[in-house]
């Protein structure tokens, strides 16, 4: 069953300098518990797709069908963690609950469990600046999970981290998403990252973005993203995606 469906979605930006067509007839489906990666040249409209799905923007034409009427269907995670420096880790992760007036024992228990499970419980009362980049990104993910969204939108969540940390956080985040049974849409520049995490990769053309190709991967059997990077099909897939991005 498809959880989310984009049907011929186009979007134009309007500014005093003129009109920019960012997206042209984008269509794809996302199934429950699926991990989708979106890759495309820089500035092609990847973030725009996420903003549309999150409801921050409205499409100029076309339709976005959400197969779910609950609130907090979507959780958004940005490139930088955007933790609030004046709040402790705990105060940061309950931000969403605070905004939606959902501070209650049950939700707090869920958050405490998440913090414990992912090694952040001891840092509850610390301020963000006392944490490493990787830990901060995990806190940001838990802040997103607090509202219990079905679909996670990840906009280059690892690009601000150094390579070593990136591989680790990649594994961590993948682990959390699988454990908590979330559906995810990841936007990335990094082809290996897309191959190592996704079930399907959507390749976009330069702006105005159209769907150029959708590649279905079958690498789940290899386990974690790190292990998937080691598998034999990896370099073949890498070349395939790379060629599609080139022309």
């Amino acid at each position: 069953m498809s959880l989310l469906k984009l049907k011929d979605v186009s979007l134009n930006y309007h500014s005093p300098k003129g009109e920019t067509q960012a997206l042209k007839n984008i269509s794809f489906e996302v199934k429950e518990n699926e991990f989708i990666a979106i890759v495309g040249p820089s500035g092609c409209g990847k973030t725009t797709i996420l903003s549309l799905i999150a409801g921050i923007l409205k499409p100029s034409s076309g339709e976005i069908i959400k197969n779910d009427d609950g609130e907090n269907f979507i959780g958004y995670m940005f490139q930088r963690d955007h933790l609030f420096e004046w709040r402790t880790i705990w105060q940061n992760v309950i931000l969403g609950l605070e905004i939606q007036k959902k501070k209650n024992a049950q939700n707090f228990e869920y958050l405490n469990k998440l913090l414990q499970k992912y090694g952040l419980y001891d840092f509850k009362d610390k301020f963000p600046r006392e944490l490493s980049g990787g830990m901060r990104q995990r806190v940001a993910l838990i802040r997103t999970l607090a509202l219990n969204p079905k679909v996670l939108l990840l906009d280059e969540p690892f690009s601000a981290l150094d390579y070593q940390t990136r591989l680790n956080v990649c594994d961590d985040v993948n682990n959390i998403i699988k454990n908590e049974k979330k559906t995810a849409i990841l936007v990335t520049h990094d082809i290996s990252e897309a191959i190592s995490m996704a079930d399907r990769i959507i390749i976009l053309t330069p702006r105005p973005a159209e769907v150029k190709k959708i590649i279905t991967l079958n690498l789940q059997k290899y386990g974690t993203p790190f292990n998937r990077r080691e598998c034999s099909e990896f370099s073949k897939l890498f070349n395939e995606v790379w060629k599609d991005l080139e022309n």
Partner: protein, 270 residues
């Protein structure tokens, strides 16, 4: 990481000692410099190398303070000016921040008012002094009004810039969690701007003293600014010097209070 003192390495203890020592050097030099300055001033005045009728001297200033105290005028004049300054300071800081919030809230209002604020900012506010005295009547209320006028424009500009510098993505994050504008203001924009608010307060300490003294120059019957004008008119320069010294002390204390507030904020959030 917190260590108890016994766990400190020798190197770290040495570092701490060095830091403490340099602090002592700075503080004692500061005090020494002041004493040296006062002593030299007194000496030059007593030996007649400088004319103490024009320059006064530390001992004369102390005497003048004593006289003012004895006649009960000391705290009266200090109190009057302090009250005007504090009133102007608080009204300008909070009203200015409030107006900045309104301007942040509505982009349209902001665009409409922008040229007016820019012009008001470049206008020497004191030029409006005589007008204000005619409008609100001479005396304390006029002085407070002048003080507010001098501080408020820069307060509005500083705070509005602070609000607008808040990361666009953080606002998107709040929106993606369902926050309305009111929540974005109170949970993100205002707490984010507290450091700027504190530096604005620091600027306003200086500005509000300018305002109240200028106001007293224009029209007053009490206060340190009044004493300065009065003293210079009757050529009692001891009185002028004394009032200036008292001003220094009060302004310094007020700045110190704001600095303490800043220290408290940093300590709580670090």
């Amino acid at each position: 990481m917190k260590h108890s003192k016994e766990n400190y390495s020798k190197e770290h203890l040495q570092y701490l000692k060095k830091r403490k020592n340099s602090k002592i050097v700075v503080l004692s030099s500061q005090i020494g410099l002041l004493i040296l300055f006062l002593a030299l001033w007194e000496l030059l005045a007593r030996t007649g190398l400088i004319n103490s009728f024009i320059t006064s001297s530390p001992s004369k200033i102390v005497n003048t303070i004593g006289e003012l105290f004895a006649s009960g005028e000391l705290f009266m004049h200090m109190g009057v000016t302090l009250l005007e300054t504090l009133a102007g300071f608080f009204i300008a800081s909070f009203l200015g921040t409030l107006i900045a919030i309104l301007l942040w809230w509505s982009e349209t209002v902001r665009k409409i008012l922008e040229p007016y604020i820019v012009i008001l900012n470049s206008l020497p506010k004191i030029a409006l002094g005589p007008l204000i005295i005619i409008w609100v009547g001479s005396g304390t209320s006029a002085i407070i009004a002048i003080c507010v006028l001098i501080c408020i424009i820069i307060t509005i500009i500083t705070m509005l810039n602070a609000f607008l510098s808040c990361d666009e993505d953080k606002i998107l994050l709040m929106k993606s969690m369902g926050a309305n504008k009111f929540k974005i203001l109170f949970k993100l924009v205002l707490p984010y701007s507290i450091p700027n608010f504190i530096s604005m307060l620091k600027i306003n300490v200086g500005m509000s003293w300018v305002g109240s003294i200028m106001g007293e120059y224009l029209s007053s019957s009490a206060g340190l600014g009044y004493l300065i004008v009065y003293g210079s008119q009757v050529f009692r320069l001891d009185l002028v010097m004394t009032s200036t010294v008292l001003l220094c002390i009060l302004a310094g204390l007020m700045y110190f209070a704001v600095a303490l507030l800043e220290k408290y904020y940093i300590k709580k959030h670090r």
